[in-house]
Symmetry: C2
Subunit: 197 residues, 2 copies
């Protein structure tokens, strides 16, 4: 009895990641309560993003311009490309603001279970960029999972023909972690890759 | 480096209940990925709700019309009003589709901590309705908390002058519950209010 418009909105909101019907209802009621301060500004912000944001034709990042502000920036080094699974990972890297090179968004990783093959990923454009942009190093910043490793291996095999250094993010114990709480796989890996002091 | 439009949207989404910055980012990326199937329909649904949904002048429910479809319905009994804290609770009651009377949304409950006084609540219009709609019974469906009980007591004192039956939802052990898992307050209450078979 909430009116068809409301029910439709609740249904759409509940399709968003990490939300269910109950939280969708709470969100819609909250929006109706804060109409001026939240609901209308949110609609406007969504329209702006929907109208203005595009996928960067070079790296696959989202931005209001294409090439995106990272690809177009003269402050970023051209010789290094950091390969990430997703734009979310690109954002995570950018929040550190330590990496000064450019990015390439694969749009996923290989997965036998989900039926993701190399053709589904943004791999060919990466290979094209290597010659075109005079790339010296490719950093694979892929998830530390089995699928992530398989994707990394595949990319290494494809990059063999190019004169380019390929590296991957270091694996080990995260900063601030207690050994007691680490899983055995990580401990073994950290021990194997121990560094001389 | 996500573009100002995106950052603004992430910030607004993170203000929604039960969401933080991380889930807001995931939601925005998800919207950008599903532009046609989710993002654009969601914007349209939000606009429809923002444009069409109003607060019912009689009971405080949200609907596209005022009086709302419940207040305007001839199938609902006029003699009984169920008083709820919030529209969310009204929806919860309607999902059971057992109650056939009408509603009154208080818009909150009395709270010394949050500084909610009777003047902040939708109480005077409730008293007006009792004479106007020839109400025979008021059912208080308020939260089973201390503040809920204080509000119920206050409403009972205000309703004393009217010739109207006042009742409250039964408290006890919820259906399907194991005694072992119930808190002591509920058990004591259920024992005190035991029913003869």
């Amino acid at each position: 009895m909430a009116g068809q418009d409301i029910e439709k909105l609740v249904k759409l909101v509940s399709k968003l990641p990490s939300l269910g019907t109950r939280s969708a209802r709470r969100i819609v009621l909250n929006l109706l309560k804060k109409r001026e301060n939240l609901f209308l500004p949110l609609i406007e912000a969504m329209q702006n993003v929907a109208n203005n944001v595009k996928t960067c034709e070079i790296c696959g990042n989202y931005d209001t311009c294409s090439p995106c502000s990272i690809c177009a920036s003269e402050l970023r080094e051209n010789g290094t490309i950091c390969v990430v699974q997703d734009v979310a990972d690109l954002w995570a890297m950018e929040r550190v603001s330590f990496f000064k090179g450019k990015y390439h968004v694969l749009g996923g990783i290989l997965s036998a279970l989900d039926g993701v093959t190399p053709e589904d990923l943004n791999i060919e454009p990466l290979l094209e960029r290597i010659g075109k942009e005079n790339v010296k190093e490719v950093i694979l910043a892929l998830p530390a999972t089995v699928d992530g490793q398989i994707t990394a291996h595949y990319l290494v095999s494809r990059l063999k023909d190019f004169e380019v250094k390929v590296s991957t993010l270091a694996q080990g114990i995260p900063m601030g972690a207690e050994l007691d709480y680490m899983d055995e796989g990580t401990l073994q890996l950290a021990l194997n890759s121990r560094k001389a002091l």
